[in-house]
Symmetry: C2
Subunit: 447 residues, 2 copies
């Protein structure tokens, strides 16, 4: 992408309302624009990150055997009266009346609708298990939206729903999602720690939050230091096999959010292994059994010919929120530092003297070669001063920068900068292309 | 995908409310489920088609130089008061009051918001032209939603907006979209005919509807027969070059919708070249000049240092509606007949004797080989009777079927069926895999 054809409206001033790094940088780097309180447009740079996150989420859902679909944003209130959550949900639900006076709402979540879909389509235990997900915009009318996309009103969420005949089978579905979540966040470069969670108004008895540690995290969390060294389950996990060992590995050590914190148990951990830190919730999984299936009569015929309510779970990932969480985890004073798998582009190409025939030709050549190799390049072909170009690239935080200027090119050299380490090196043009291509490809490998 | 793990709730009865083929088949084939009047869930099969359509739309927008972003579904009423469309839009606009009593609405289109985004981010003519698009759910509170996804209330639309300094430059942007649209529909297997259109409440002076001919089309259209033989512009069109010849080729012959029909002009065409048919609108492009930029003060500094309102156009494609249009164009009594580029899966694999070791092994092998070659397979591994399997595959309409049964496999043969022509042939297993793979790959080539 040539920057001159892109749309990247940067902000010079730090917006006063932005209290945390991700909010600040998303506004300054032209990733999002606030349209109303807690409602954002995703400008081209931010949209690219959102799509990358969404795609990783999708791939790991598919791998675990969940099937994608899409439910609408606008729902009928009737469904929510069946589950008795219509009144319980309170003011956070955006309630709407259509032209015929029917009560509608903008879905804050989809347990009711998916249960209705399931009960109309599945009759027999033989069709189980089923696991369905969608990635759709939700709305929660927060009284005080803040922290940019971290606590917005309109937000993108992936929600999965599992349907099983027995609680034991449901546990297997729960484990599948547990593993998919560990892989999803790790592939984005995030270390997530599953923490036992309260089930809250959604009900149920088995629930974990997936927490990413970051200094600016919204809440205090506590865990055993060894959890920071765990690796993600491999891509070839047999999802129909015994998954307990993977789950145990990530749950046998102490880990708790503030609400679930057990001071006594925590203090039994050797002092040097105690971690007390700030965390951001990026995912949440629940097993809630027959809460909705009973209320909404979602039954299947069991092996003995008797109708039984289906056992359900729901599993959410905050897709738009992850954009913010990633910046909280990866930034410095100058701006974002995107991990390659979620970077809006892999490489920033800086032409320090636009209009100079040789430099223009060298840049155009590098651009073509990288793009042909499947490396995504944002080429700064504008007439801005070098200082402005450097600052801009650091702000938007593409993982690699290749700079072509008159001095280096005279010796056939390009400067290659790693945005994460800050390390710079001069390399012959072809070597620079080869080196950066290999680095990007390596970082994109799915293991 | 193994059918046993998929979610495909077919309907035996034809739903009474479904008057047209696409509505009927989308319900019967388990592609969508109506949640409220004019509001649908996209079940896994339908969702796959929707995603394929969306991706073709996206690729052709990107090719033409439009840049993707995403605006939210919920907008503030204030913007619409600036353009004076808030009152003008009437009851089709879904109006919402949030918990703080602010007037909001579910966006039926995005001219206002994109104009606000543009005016806050672009100052100088040097940054022009700009072309931005998004693919987002819209809502129009139709008084009587009908024909399934063809005239729903919540619908998926791709809308592009162009910004130029002069009307001449804007014409180039208009032509880019004109060509992108021809390519987009042709890649899906649809012959679209651009027809001069009224600009309606959106304003402006240059506008075309893109119409697909189908017996069940919503309106009457008239055109010269030679338009049915035009080919789409090639993938390597130079979008910055002179595009007029491509546009002229598709606009110099008579073509008009009912509203714009000129009987006299039509009758000047030789009788054998007159086509009068039913059509479905799948796209609509407008140049409306400074209508919104003047009302909303979206100015840029021109070369002489004077502020001038930017020249704008907007360009829509009904993404969810196309799903229906494709079925209207491609179906028979038995069900859908998907063109390969938009098929939910490329191949249906039918195992006629699940549980038979040899047949199971042959099917599993074929499945693995096709998937490894990048061919998408829906494998019917259920214990349904052969007749039910055949009917099901014909209904969902995957372009190719490979059937493995005891009789054929005894001779090492698979039956390969082309869903479009109905033609069947018996081929040795490996040949069947190779033949179908080549057919699918050929159909997916982008030229």
């Amino acid at each position: 992408m040539y920057l001159s054809k892109f749309y990247l409206p940067l902000m010079k001033e730090t917006p006063a309302e932005a209290q945390i790094a991700s909010h600040r940088f998303m506004l300054r780097a032209g990733m999002v624009r606030q349209e109303s309180a807690g409602i954002y447009s995703w400008l081209p740079l931010g949209h690219r990150v959102l799509k990358k996150i969404e795609q990783i989420v999708r791939e790991e859902q598919d791998r675990a055997g969940a099937v994608e679909m899409l439910m609408p944003t606008i729902q009928s209130a009737d469904l929510w009266k069946e589950s008795e959550r219509y009144d319980a949900y309170g003011k956070e639900m955006l309630r709407i009346t259509d032209r015929h006076g029917r009560e509608m709402l903008y879905g804050p979540t989809n347990e009711e609708m998916i249960t209705a879909i399931f009960r109309s389509g599945v009759r027999s235990y033989k069709e189980l298990p089923k696991m369905l997900y969608h990635i759709q915009w939700k709305f929660r009318d927060e009284v005080r939206p803040r922290f940019g996309v971290m606590r917005g009103r309109e937000f993108l969420m992936k929600d999965t729903y599992s349907f099983d005949l027995t609680a034991d089978a449901a546990r297997q579905s729960y484990y599948k999602m547990f593993i998919a979540y560990l892989r999803t966040f790790a592939r984005m470069g995030l270390r997530s720690i599953p923490m036992k969670a309260e089930t809250g108004p959604i009900g149920g008895d088995l629930s974990h939050e997936f927490i990413v540690l970051a200094e600016t995290g919204e809440s205090e969390v506590f865990c055993h230091r060894d959890l920071l060294r765990k690796t993600m389950p491999p891509a070839n996990v047999d999802f129909d096999g015994n998954l307990e060992s993977y789950v145990n590995e990530h749950t046998s050590l102490y880990a708790a959010t503030e609400e679930m914190h057990d001071k006594e148990a925590f203090e039994k951990i050797p002092e040097e292994a105690r971690v007390s830190a700030r965390g951001i919730e990026v995912g949440h999984i629940f097993f809630f059994g027959t809460k909705y299936s009973k209320a909404m009569k979602a039954n299947v015929l069991g092996a003995e010919g008797k109708e039984v309510p289906v056992e359900m779970g729901s599993y959410g990932i905050g897709v738009s929120r992850l954009t913010g969480a990633l910046i909280e985890a990866y930034h410095d004073e100058q701006g974002c530092k995107w991990p390659v798998p979620v970077a809006p582009f892999h490489v920033g190409l800086l032409n320090l003297k636009v209009g100079d025939e040789k430099i223009d030709a060298a840049c155009a050549g590098i651009y073509r070669q990288l793009e042909a190799a499947g490396v995504e390049v944002l080429y700064d072909d504008t007439r801005a001063r070098p200082g402005e170009k450097f600052a801009r690239m650091d702000l938007i935080g593409l993982p690699w920068q290749i700079t072509i200027g008159p001095r280096g090119l005279g010796n056939g050299l390009a400067e290659v900068k790693n945005r994460h380490t800050g390390q710079k090196q001069e390399l012959p043009l072809q070597e620079a292309v080869g080196f950066v291509t290999r680095q990007v490809k390596d970082a994109l490998k799915v293991v």
